[in-house]
């Protein structure tokens, strides 16, 4: 042995450590990949060695390689091995590696549950700390559920170092396992007032993260935070709290009012810029929330703006950046206060820092008014010219367009100017945003009728100079503009100065080099132009001009007919044939112009992008209703007789919807219109736009813009937007002068939807009359469009699940699971399935979570009964599960663990208790049939919400009292367990139970020898009346490695071990894991049984290989499996009235038994029966209780338990006397043992 150690350390001297690896990589710069691959081979060798130090060293090197981008997930199992080392040094290496490369889909994670639990309860706080840190990086939903309780215990650890880590990690646990939030929250809240500032800060941190996503649930904490804010001196905590308040104030303006004062004080007093900045931010949030209610906070706004100005003027770029950021928030509600700092912001546009320039741009977006739009855009255009790098220039371009087009071009007074700007932008080289400019051109030309003449002229010039745009391949993005130009020239061709010239420009051979979709538009619009030209020329006496045009079309179009683009080809050949035909007619002197232009008659109207979405669902139409009823759901369940009566109802109710008569509909429609008319925010269609489609040719009623001719319309050559700035200035002056003369100038402006917005602009806005008063054709919206602003929340947001009311007292169903076992590797949903919950580990001092599981089962059952579909799925799953049982590892079993005072809750309670519980939360013990709809686990249940609102306003104290009360009730309860020992390292902050119940376990010893110990628990399978699941925990007691374990049982006629398909009836099942020394793990085996009325025993053998360093031996262990009748019973809740009916029915045979000398409190007695024999209490009155259970084959078993002194009498009824007799015998035996 000693030699081996020496040998091991010599080996290690030659191993590379991390430093050697790094050095090696640095020395092999030219063939790094090759060197690393040899290193990985070495690491693989090292991982195969037994020496944990070597392994740890290898894992450490792997962590380094992971950073370099190498996938090291193949070593996941070795990482787990290193994690489970007893030495802190190695453990830390293991956890580090795990935190770097484990994730939810790492399958070995499920093997770590036990190890982590062990580390969490380690007496060494750094073991615990390392485990917590690691866990925070790779916690999965399963780990979160299994460890939530342990972590919660650690929140009250004596060491602040552990407390703060435990508090922080709870956030991760909540995210993965939202059910833990409510049970853990009271303690989390406690930690806000922890004596240690670190812990306090962690708690604040967690609550802030939670509240950020679902602020409304945390409003009740505001007073507590307020206190913290005024008392704390820790800037970190203050910043977090102040940020939190920023999230809370929008929901509760009164809170905001209270905040203003302390916050302004802080702003004045603090020297920490970070704190100052956050204060300003929150004050802004408060002001925003108050802006509607309280008018007079201008002082605060001034303070904020003033402080922000200081930040922006600071030479520190970071402060400048943040100042701009905060400024943009103020801008939304108090634009005036910000606008006065326009100079400063424009200055920032010149900053060398791009982040700052972008921020300033954002601000500008909000600062524009009618008055300064031209000026600002002019400045921006200068920047566009100067800008280096396309990204920033593109950003500028989009910003210009955004600024101009915001709120339906609200700030544009002169659209000619805007078109000129757009045309100028087309000269940008290499921009990606050609399509943006194009869509703006289209939009303006379509929606602003007055501008069409001007726009068409500009577009014609663009088309003429198309070669400028397309000359360079790099500028490809911009040629999108030609798409718009061609379309506008075609569609509004009647405004064209010289249509023939434009037509010619559109048919140039060069066009064929444009992208296909643009060519297609060219061809189509050439046809439109052609139609217009024909119409113009036909009036003339000379018909040759028209014929020349046709000839030109015929000459040029073949170019497009040959196009490789199908769309172009198709359109071109179609139009070519058309023109040829027209030419024929022309030659016969037939007038065709009318008919040709009829092809393109009618106007295209813009349709709002969301129009379709906003079509209201007609009354009486239920989109979610089945068109054909799905096939009947209820076949197998017995609770269905009621359906005979209830089924009728839906038939009546559905047609009722549609029966709303015409009158009613008309009345409602009228009312709705009225309401819309009065609602300024409703997007109104122009008065008769609805009818556009009915009266086809009637476009005339779309309000047409009258042009104020104070501005000369024509600007020769390409437009220069600058000219407009000057012109605008002159115009305004003129206007002002005129205005003085006339008291009131009549406006021609028709009222449109945006009209009202004018009023909200800066005061001076009123004075500026738009150059051409423009009416904007509003976009078409369907009648009765729903004014909905769908917030597009991500349905996958993990925080959605955390939207949980925290003020409501805890319901019984919400306790954290203490310890449960699931089939390893099964998906989460399976873990909820009842049959997966079959095992409780045997640890003599530990409590069991059995009842919790029972309860879960009940719930599961309830749910399942109602949902056949689910059930089907489940059956599928069961099959899967069996496979898993045959082939995969079960979760490792707990070795040592501390339990919590928050405990698993009883399955059923006495009637009066049920009443109180039902008040606060959905009663978990609702009978199977009716509980289906209320899904007690669902905290978002409507019922819950109702009660939550009731409770919300109650103060903390009251809540505490209530909890206390509930707790007391729980203590009276028979099923309550408490922790025996193992609490040394843990401080429990809460009240302990008065009458602790001795720990119980259903695991009984199966067999044992010097190598291995087997304990087992036998449970009926809830879903299958002929199955029993045996959970066996194997514990390695030796110093050797146990492998190749095979579990075999000699089948009897009645009971058979389920073996995988293809194996013979005497083959053993391989246990799906190996056992290192001292480790235990659990496996599950499924048996089929035919008759369940008698207990029976099965003989079996476990064979395994014991592997030492130098030898391996074959060993075996015989055992006897005892199937008691109890194991066929399944805890099933039953309501007292159903119970009474059952007894009255007379189908049950009765029997009774008497127990003498039972020396334990009555509730302990009941708890034992419940626990060991799978019963649930139906009702308890003093020293008398009725209990119920059901066998897997559906036999009802009813007990009436009475006690007087030390005598307990049990009267029992069951529809199967043999079964009953056996069960009673077993109960008797249970009590004779103690």
């Amino acid at each position: 042995m000693a030699l081996k150690i020496v040998k091991g350390s010599i080996d290690r001297m030659f191993d590379k450590n991390l430093q050697d690896l790094v050095r090696g990589i640095r020395n092999h710069k030219e063939d790094e990949a090759k060197y690393i691959s040899t290193c990985i081979d070495e690491i693989k060798q090292e991982l195969k060695q037994d020496n944990i130090a070597v392994k740890a060293n290898a894992v450490c090197k792997l962590t380094y390689l992971q950073m370099l981008g190498y996938d090291v997930s193949w070593a996941a199992f070795n990482i787990v091995e290193v994690m489970s080392s007893s030495k802190f040094t190695y453990k830390r290496i293991g956890y580090l590696a795990a935190s770097q490369c484990f994730h939810e889909n790492t399958d070995v994670i499920m093997l770590t549950t036990n190890q982590i639990r062990k580390d969490l309860s380690s007496p060494n706080q750094y073991d615990t700390g390392v485990a917590l840190t690691g866990l925070s990086c790779f916690v999965t939903p399963d780990l979160a559920r299994d460890l939530a309780n342990d972590i919660m215990t650690l929140m009250s650890h004596t060491k602040p170092y552990i407390r703060k880590k435990a508090v922080l990690i709870m956030y991760k646990v909540f995210l993965k396992y939202p059910e833990s939030l409510r049970p853990a929250f009271p303690r989390l809240k406690e930690k806000l007032e922890d004596p240690d500032p670190g812990v306090q800060s962690a708690a604040v941190n967690v609550i802030c993260e939670l509240a950020r996503r679902n602020p409304k649930n945390y409003l009740s904490l505001a007073p507590l935070f307020f206190k913290l804010m005024t008392s704390s001196t820790n800037n970190w905590v203050l910043i977090k709290i102040i940020k939190l308040f920023g999230a809370l104030t929008p929901l509760e303006p009164r809170l905001g009012k209270k905040l203003i004062e302390p916050l302004t004080n802080l702003i004045h007093s603090t020297s920490a810029m970070s704190l100052l900045y956050e204060c300003v931010n929150t004050v802004i949030a408060v002001l925003i929330s108050l802006s509607s209610g309280m008018p007079n906070h201008s002082a605060s706004i001034q303070l904020c703006v003033q402080k922000l100005r200081i930040l922006i003027e600071d030479s520190d770029q970071n402060l400048k950046y943040l100042g701009l950021l905060a400024m943009s928030k103020i801008l939304k509600t108090h634009p005036k206060s910000v606008q006065s700092h326009k100079d400063l912001i424009l200055q920032c546009l010149d900053d060398k820092d791009e982040s700052i320039r972008l921020r300033a741009l954002d601000l500008l977006y909000g600062m524009v008014s009618k008055k300064n739009l031209m000026e600002i855009v002019k400045k921006l255009m200068i920047h566009v010219d100067k800008a280096e790098g396309t990204t920033y220039r593109d950003e500028l371009l989009t910003k210009i367009i955004d600024i101009c087009s915001q709120s339906n071009y609200q700030y544009i007074t002169n659209f000619e100017w805007y078109i000129s700007i757009l045309v100028e932008l087309t000269r940008l080289e290499g921009t990606r945003h050609g399509h943006l400019i194009a869509s703006q051109m289209l939009d303006v030309a379509i929606r602003v009728k007055a501008i069409r003449v001007f726009a068409v002229a500009q577009m014609a010039t663009l088309l003429d100079n198309a070669h400028l745009l397309t000359g360079n391949m790099q500028r490809n993005g911009i040629c999108e503009v030609l798409y718009a130009a061609a379309w506008i020239c075609g569609e509004f061709s009647e405004h064209l100065e010289n249509p023939v010239q434009t037509l010619e420009a559109m048919l140039r051979p060069k066009v064929a080099t444009l992208p296909g979709h643009i060519q297609a538009v060219y061809v189509q619009n050439a046809a439109k132009l052609f139609a217009t030209i024909l119409k113009n020329q036909e009036g003339n006496t000379d018909s040759t001009a028209a014929q020349e045009t046709s000839q030109m079309m015929i000459d040029r179009l073949p170019l497009f007919v040959q196009s490789a683009n199908l769309e172009v080809q198709e359109r071109a050949s179609c139009i070519l044939q058309l023109v040829k035909y027209i030419q024929k007619l022309q030659q016969k002197d037939v007038e065709v112009a009318e008919e040709v232009s009829a092809l393109f008659a009618g106007e295209l109207n813009p349709v709002a992008p969301k129009a379709q979405k906003k079509v209201p669902v007609p009354e009486g139409l239920d989109l979610d209703a089945w068109i054909n009823e799905p096939p009947s759901e209820s076949e197998s369940e017995d609770e269905q007789p009621k359906a005979i009566f209830t089924k009728e109802e839906p038939k009546h109710s559905r047609p009722r919807h549609t029966e709303v008569d015409e009158k009613e509909l008309a009345r409602r429609r009228e009312a709705r219109k009225q309401e819309q008319a009065n609602n300024p925010f409703y997007i109104k269609a122009s008065p008769s736009s609805q009818k556009v489609y009915q009266e086809a040719p009637g476009v005339e009623h779309i309000p047409v813009v009258q042009i104020d001719l104070s501005v000369p319309l024509k600007v020769p050559g390409l437009p220069m937007s600058d000219q407009y700035v000057k012109l605008e200035e002159e115009r305004r002056q003129k206007e002002r002068a005129e205005k003085k003369k006339k008291e009131k100038k009549k406006r021609k402006e028709k009222r449109s939807g945006r009209g009202k917005k004018h009023d909200s602009g800066p005061e001076s806005e009123e004075d500026i009359t738009p150059a051409h008063v423009v009416d904007i054709v509003t976009e078409e919206m369907p009648e009765n469009a729903l004014p909905s602003d769908d917030d597009d929340k991500d349905p996958n947001d993990p925080h959605k699940a955390l939207d949980i009311d925290l003020d409501k007292p805890l319901a019984d169903s919400e306790k954290l699971p203490v310890r449960s076992h699931r089939a390893a590797g099964a998906p989460k949903s399976s873990a909820e399935d009842g049959e997966a919950e079959n095992a409780t580990p045997q640890e003599p001092k530990k409590k069991s979570s059995k009842e919790k599981r029972d309860k879960k089962k009940d719930k599961e059952r309830d749910r399942k009964r109602s949902k056949e579909e689910k059930k089907k799925k489940k059956h599928k799953h069961e099959e899967k599960e069996e496979d898993l049982l045959g082939g995969q590892a079960e979760e490792p079993v707990v070795q040592s663990e501390e339990m919590k005072e928050v405990e698993a809750q009883p399955t059923s309670t006495s009637a009066e208790e049920a009443a109180t519980v039902a008040e606060a939360a959905p009663a978990p013990e609702a009978p199977a049939g009716t509980a289906a709809d209320s899904e007690p686990e669902e905290p978002k249940d409507t019922e819950t919400e109702e009660s939550s609102s009731k409770h919300k306003k109650k103060k903390q104290k009251k809540e505490k009292e209530e909890k206390e009360k509930k707790k007391k009730k729980k203590h009276h309860h028979h099923h309550h367990h408490s922790d025996g020992g193992g609490e040394e390292s843990v401080q429990n902050g809460t009240v302990e139970e008065e009458e602790p119940l001795p720990p119980m376990s259903n695991y009984c010893l199966l067999a044992e020898n010097s190598y291995i110990k087997m304990v087992c628990d036998i449970q009926g399978n809830l879903q299958d009346g002929s199955q029993v699941v045996v959970s066996v925990i194997f514990e390695n007691k030796s110093d050797s490695f146990l492998k190749s374990m095979e579990f075999n049982v000699l089948d009897s006629l009645n009971s058979k071990l389920q073996r995988p398909e293809g194996s013979g009836p005497h083959d053993g099942l391989t246990v799906p894991f190996q056992l290192p020394p001292g480790v235990s793990n659990e496996a599950r085996f499924v048996f089929t049984v035919q008759s369940i009325v008698m207990p029976q025993k099965l003989k079996g053998t476990l064979t395994f290989i014991v592997k030492n360093e130098d030898s391996s031996t074959h060993e075996k262990l015989d055992f006897k499996l005892h199937f008691t009748c109890t194991s066929y019973l399944i805890t099933t809740p039953c309501y007292s009235d159903a119970f009474a009916k059952l007894l009255e029915s007379g189908d049950l045979k009765s029997s009774s038994v008497r127990l003498e000398g039972v020396n334990m409190p009555f509730h302990h007695l009941l708890a034992r029966i419940c626990f060991h024999h799978h019963f649930s209490v139906v009702e308890r009155i003093d020293s008398c209780a009725s209990m119920y259970s059901r066998s897997i084959q559906g036999h009802h078993v009813c007990l009436l338990v009475k006690t007087s002194g030390q005598t307990v009498s049990i009267d029992a009824k069951c529809d199967e006397p043999t079964l009953l007799g056996n069960v009673l015998d077993e109960i008797k035996q249970t009590f004779s043992q103690c």
Binding site: S9, L18, Q19, V22, R26, A53, T63, Y64, Q66, M67, L68, G69, Y70, D71, K87, F88, T89, R92, I93, L96, Q100, H103, E104, Y126, L132, T133, S136, C137, Y161, K164, K165, L168, I169, Y171, K172, G198, S201, A202, N205, V206, C208, E209, R212, N235, W236, I239, K243, M273, S274, Y277, E278, Q317, N318, K320, Y321, L322, K352, D353, S355, I356
Partner: protein, 156 residues
């Protein structure tokens, strides 16, 4: 929440990466490259915030970084973190490294990535700020280092 912490040198070589959200290794490398690309072209006298790269997060995320001699320390955080606070935190972290390594330089990080991780673990846990008091951090790190030493001594 902090989504990722990256330390790389002036050439983009990673010296420590710590993601608090899972990304596959190749994605991690891509993120490092992109982040390096974004950060390295910025002058030293511009602000230390960058609107998030396209790979991590989205609009809610920011890159907050500091440049020390040959190393970039980059934190990717969401809007629940105070920008200036994180800048301070980076400073605290670097000062802690300086104390633990005695005049820290890039070589220390290169050869002792594991130790840097252990120090970072005392500052940030699971993406949330754990401790900001440098003395406390150093004390905890030292206790653990002593434990490690004694364990290794006992063994040999």
């Amino acid at each position: 929440m902090i989504k990722a912490i990256l330390i790389f040198n002036n050439h983009g070589k990673p010296r420590l990466i710590r993601f608090y959200q899972y990304f596959a290794e190749d994605m991690q490398q891509q993120i490092i490259r992109e982040t390096f690309h974004l950060v390295s072209k910025r002058d030293d006298n511009v602000c230390n915030f960058l609107e998030g790269g396209s790979l991590i997060g989205g609009s809610d995320y920011k890159l907050i970084y500091r440049h020390y001699a040959t190393l970039y320390f980059v934190f990717c955080v969401d809007s629940s973190e105070s920008e200036l606070g994180i800048l301070d935190l980076i400073q605290v972290f670097v000062e802690t490294l300086d104390k633990c390594f005695e005049n820290v330089c890039e070589l220390d990080l290169i050869f002792h990535m594991d130790k840097v991780h252990y120090i970072l673990q005392e500052v940030v846990m699971g993406g949330m700020v754990l401790e900001t008091n440098m003395n406390e951090i150093v004390a905890q790190v030292e206790v653990q280092n002593r434990m490690e030493k004694s364990e290794l001594c006992n063994q040999n």
